[in-house]
């Protein structure tokens, strides 16, 4: 019975299904006919109407490119603006013989093959009927030459465009950055609608980090055009919104002082306004002129920059990695005090070297004969290595790692520039994970004097110094003021994390650092004269290569590239710090003689020699 039912049911089901297939087919045919009726209506009945709309009098939507925001320094000096420039532009679709036209233009205006190639590349990427520049920033002579023969070049015209201009050229090139032509990779990631009509985009520096603020909002104009595509009149438009102007915390005059003071050396100077965290100086020498990058730098010029031994394109302040050397000592000393490993009066005898128990290797002090018996203040003032070898061993690498990490060593500073390097604050764990090796006590010793695996960037060192000067309240450096006014004095950062150090510990470190400059034994006493306030600082000399156990380091004997790096950290006034400066000079030799005077110049220009507040 049930089986008969099933079979019968199957038959009913099959018939039902077949009916439904037919019904579906009919519905599909009906709906398709509906689509065709509509198409007939549009393409036959409405054809003439729509052709008129499309061709004879079509409404063209043209993008209106916004003006890029201007970048100012803290006193309102222009760091990047837009200047009028004339460029030779072609609309390839309106030119009958493009190759011939290009050849004639090349002869007339002496255009390089490279520029022709660039033009061809850009043309292929672009939509049709878009004006494509061949020659940017033409001089008067070129404009005059072309103006005479213009009737013989249909589809070619001179256009006025705004071109980005950097008046301070190489002075702050790394921090301001530059804009360049949008390349293929960027075409894919940029919002297409917003960049319709824009040819340039920020590549590095502030120009890149604040691209969306600087760019502005593209507007549109409805333009009535005739059959030839020529504009008849503008019907309706949505104006573009210009990009925001940016006010940096940077002081371009101070930046110039620092950059000039670096002179022929390669190096970096970073200065931070301790009251806000705003970066006052962010210099990396050598710099480069960013202006050629805007109009399209020639291959030769770019290769020259790329292959130079001095690496002018390299942002040393943000990406350069250096051992901190002795500039780390005040931080190690503070760690000793905070962990109660020492007190300020605790003395260590320095015979000029240090030995680990049962090991013959001698870790030497920079001073051959030794410093004798030194307490913490003496050790910082005279930069005694042996004192810090001993202290480092007492602290151990784990505690040193944790303590220094809080100051931002081996951590990105968080400055508002992209591409920052992290550096390295080594730890037992790091060595096990990355090198699969145990941590050795000798490595703890050399970490105590800022050598070994430790690698930091100049901005990190400046930030740590500012945090120390700020009594342990962590500074986050930044370059762009949040409020768009040059006179804004309000601090931009409200909440600072407090590392919670004991005031007496901080104060004894600071007074030791004051001795570095104002004590007769200080390693940087040369910069402390003729000012009525005190500077706190610490010199550093970082080894680039290791000398043999008994060899004597003689600066004049060794290759310049292997000479020690000179470092200096400082802040002033010592009793109410306003500015922190870190200087790193590659192969500069001694921190006290080369790096400290640069910091001295920056501080004296910022505070004056006679600081009343």
């Amino acid at each position: 019975m049930s089986r008969i039912y099933t079979v019968k049911n199957k038959l009913v089901e099959s018939r039902l299904f077949l009916h439904r297939i037919i019904a579906a087919f009919i519905v599909i045919l009906l709906l398709s006919s509906g689509l065709i009726v509509r198409l007939v209506y549009l393409q036959i009945v409405g054809h003439e109407h729509y052709t008129t709309l499309a061709k004879d009098n079509s409404i063209k939507i043209e993008p209106l490119v916004p003006t890029r925001g201007i970048i100012y320094d803290r006193h309102g000096k222009v760091l990047a603006d837009n200047t009028q420039s004339f460029s030779l532009e072609l609309i390839p679709e309106q030119i009958i013989d493009l190759d011939d036209t290009l050849l004639r233009l090349q002869k007339l205006l002496d255009i390089s093959d490279e520029k022709i190639d660039q033009f061809q590349k850009q043309r292929k990427r672009q939509k049709r009927f878009v004006s494509t520049p061949l020659l940017i920033s033409m001089n008067d002579e070129e404009i005059a030459k072309f103006a005479v023969v213009r009737p013989y070049f249909p589809g070619v015209d001179i256009q006025a465009r705004l071109v980005r201009h950097y008046p301070y050229t190489e002075l702050a090139s790394h921090v301001i950055g530059y804009v360049g032509r949008i390349n293929e990779a960027e075409m894919k990631t940029l919002p297409i609608a917003e960049y319709r009509g824009s040819s340039h985009v920020g590549k590095i520096g502030i120009e890149n980090s604040y691209e969306s603020e600087l760019h502005g909002k593209t507007g549109y104009a409805e333009i009535e055009t005739n059959v030839q595509g020529r504009a008849i009149n503008a019907v309706n438009s949505v104006p573009p919104v210009p990009g925001e102007n940016l006010y940096l915390t940077l002081d371009i005059d101070l930046q110039k002082t620092a950059y000039d003071a670096l002179d022929t050396f390669n190096g970096a100077v970073v200065a931070i306004d301790i009251k806000t965290g705003g970066v006052l100086v962010f210099a990396s020498r050598p710099g480069f002129d960013p202006n050629p990058f805007v109009v399209g730098i020639s291959n030769d010029a770019y290769q020259a920059l790329q292959s130079s031994d001095n690496q002018p394109l390299f942002n040393r302040a943000l990406r350069g990695l250096y051992p901190p050397g002795s500039t780390l000592k005040p931080f190690i000393a503070l760690a000793g005090l905070e962990y109660n490993a020492i007190n300020a009066e605790h003395k260590t005898f320095c015979p000029g070297y240090y030995q680990l128990p049962n090991v013959s290797h001698r870790y030497r002090d920079w001073k051959r004969g030794g410093h004798g018996s030194v307490n913490m203040t003496d050790a910082i003032t005279q930069s005694c290595d042996v004192y810090f070898y001993s202290l480092a061993l007492t602290l151990g690498i784990d505690r040193m790692h944790d303590f220094l990490q809080d100051f931002g060593f081996g951590e990105k500073s968080g400055i508002d520039l992209s591409g920052e390097k992290q550096g390295l604050m080594p730890s037992r764990e790091w060595k096990r994970n990355r090198r699969n090796q145990a941590w050795y006590p000798g490595e703890t010793l050399i970490t105590g004097i800022g050598q070994g695996f430790l690698q930091i960037t100049p901005i990190q060192l400046a930030r740590a110094t500012a945090t120390l000067a700020n009594k342990g309240k962590v500074i986050t450096p930044f370059l762009v003021k949040k409020s768009a006014s040059p006179d804004s004095t309000a601090p931009d950062i409200a909440t600072q994390e407090d590392l919670g150090f004991k005031p007496e510990n901080i104060n004894s470190i600071i007074s030791a650092m004051v001795n570095v400059i104002h004590d007769p034994h200080g390693t940087a006493k040369s910069i402390g004269k003729d000012i009525n306030y005190q500077i706190a600082g610490k010199t550093g000399t970082a080894q680039v290569f290791n000398i043999k156990q008994d060899a004597k380091y003689n600066e004049n004997d060794i290759d310049f590239k292997l000479r020690d790096h000179a470092l200096f950290i400082s802040f002033a006034p010592a009793d109410d710090p306003k500015i922190a400066v870190a200087v790193i000079i590659e192969n500069g030799g001694h921190g006290g003689s080369v790096a400290a005077p640069i910091a001295g110049k920056v501080i004296k220009q910022f505070l004056g020699t006679n600081n009343e507040n």
Binding site: F17, I21, A24, I28, L29, S32, I44, Y50, K60, V238
Partner: protein, 376 residues
């Protein structure tokens, strides 16, 4: 002797035929799909500013989709039936995951980043929903009783709402219609269908209340595109100008001025039909529709030949959904339906929809080429 001569005579086609049959490929369907894919490259070249890179990327995706179709054609339909519920459940889980992860991101969240590639669970749901509904209904006698209808309705509404919440109205619509397709082929009474239709019309104000502002805009724009020619009505006006100016014979391949001059937005994706209509005219449009109808007819024929309930419901629904795809896209481009973001199947630029569509055809081929092995 005689047979030998014959086999020699038809040697090449019979070898090819054999290979295709061994691959479980349905030849008429395969040829139709191949033709439409080739057509897609021709249109994309014109619509995508004659960029070879675009073509190469699309070719890679189409190749991958054809491979997946061939693989699925190999699978015994019994396996699809067996794993229907499991796959449906998995799809729902992934949809929820996307929604939850989307809470942390910004705006619309449709993707699940698997590291190597990004996966869109809503695409998978387009196939697993009809599978699930067909599996459920095939367990009971047809036509379905009210209780089964209720369950099937819930099975359809859950994924539809989850996708609508992403928000992806176009896909939600396709998922709902794939499920509704199964119900239709299962023999849902006409009276009931009209009742549902009437109820839905009555519910429109409530639906309106739940729509996102941009979805409301689209409906309003559809009703009166001229009201906002620069903003929301821009797509439809420009699209109509492109199609209308194409006329009977069209402007010829690469002759589209509207997309080239940048009037027509999304000319490679959702609005590619406008470029096609402008270049190939009414003749081209009717030809393209005919090609789609041939493919759909073949699918419906396949469905009519199937003996077991699950497979025939699934086959019918897949064929029907394919048509909905075509109808909704062309309908919105020519301005008879609101813009809901459904691509022109197999022609629009973009990989995910092609992979899903050809997977569907792979299942259809599997159902067709395996039917003799199925227990009756």
């Amino acid at each position: 002797m005689k047979t030998e001569t014959r086999s020699e005579q038809f040697h090449p086609p019979s070898v090819l035929g054999n290979i295709l049959r061994k691959l479980h490929i349905d030849i008429p369907l395969f040829i139709g799909l191949l033709l439409i894919s080739l057509l897609s490259f021709i249109i994309l070249y014109s619509a995508g500013s004659q960029d070879m890179d675009v073509l190469m990327r699309q070719a890679a995706r189409v190749g991958l989709a054809f491979l997946l179709m061939t693989i699925l054609a190999h699978v015994n339909p019994y396996q699809f039936k067996r794993y229907s519920a499991l796959l449906f459940g998995l799809g729902l889980l992934l949809l929820v995951a996307v929604l939850v992860l989307g809470q942390f991101g910004k705006g619309a969240q449709r993707w699940l980043d698997l590291g190597v590639f990004r996966f869109q669970p809503s695409e998978m749901i387009k196939i697993t929903t009809p599978m699930m509904v067909a599996w459920y209904l095939a367990e009971h006698a047809l036509p379905p009783k009210p209780k089964q209808l209720l369950v099937a309705g819930i099975l359809i509404i859950i994924p539809t709402l989850l996708i609508a919440k992403q928000p992806d109205l176009g896909t939600a619509l396709l998922v709902a219609s794939s499920g509704a397709g199964v119900l239709f082929f299962a023999g849902l009474s006409w009276r009931f269908m009209f009742a549902i239709g009437a109820t839905l019309t009555g519910l429109t104000p409530i639906l309106w209340h739940f729509m996102r502002p941009y979805q409301r805009d689209r409906v309003l724009t559809f009703l009166n595109p001229e009201a906002d020619p620069l903003g929301r009505g821009y797509h439809i006006i420009q699209s109509k100008i492109a199609i209308g100016s194409g006329g009977i014979y069209g402007k010829g391949w690469l002759g589209s001025t509207q997309s080239e001059l940048d009037f027509l937005p999304e000319s490679s994706t959702d609005f590619i039909f406008a470029v096609f209509a402008e270049e190939f005219g009414l003749f081209g449009c009717v030809g393209l529709l005919a090609l789609y109808l041939l493919i759909i007819s073949r699918c419906l024929y396949i469905a009519s030949q199937v003996q077991d309930t699950y497979s025939r419901l699934l086959a019918g629904s897949l064929a029907f959904t394919f048509f909905v795809y075509v109808f909704v896209n062309i309908g919105m481009v020519i301005g008879v339906l609101p813009v809901v973001g459904v691509p022109l199947p197999l022609i629009s630029y973009g990989g995910t929809s092609i992979v899903t569509l050809l997977s569907g055809f792979g299942i259809l081929m599997s159902i067709h080429t395996h039917k003799k092995f199925l227990p009756h």
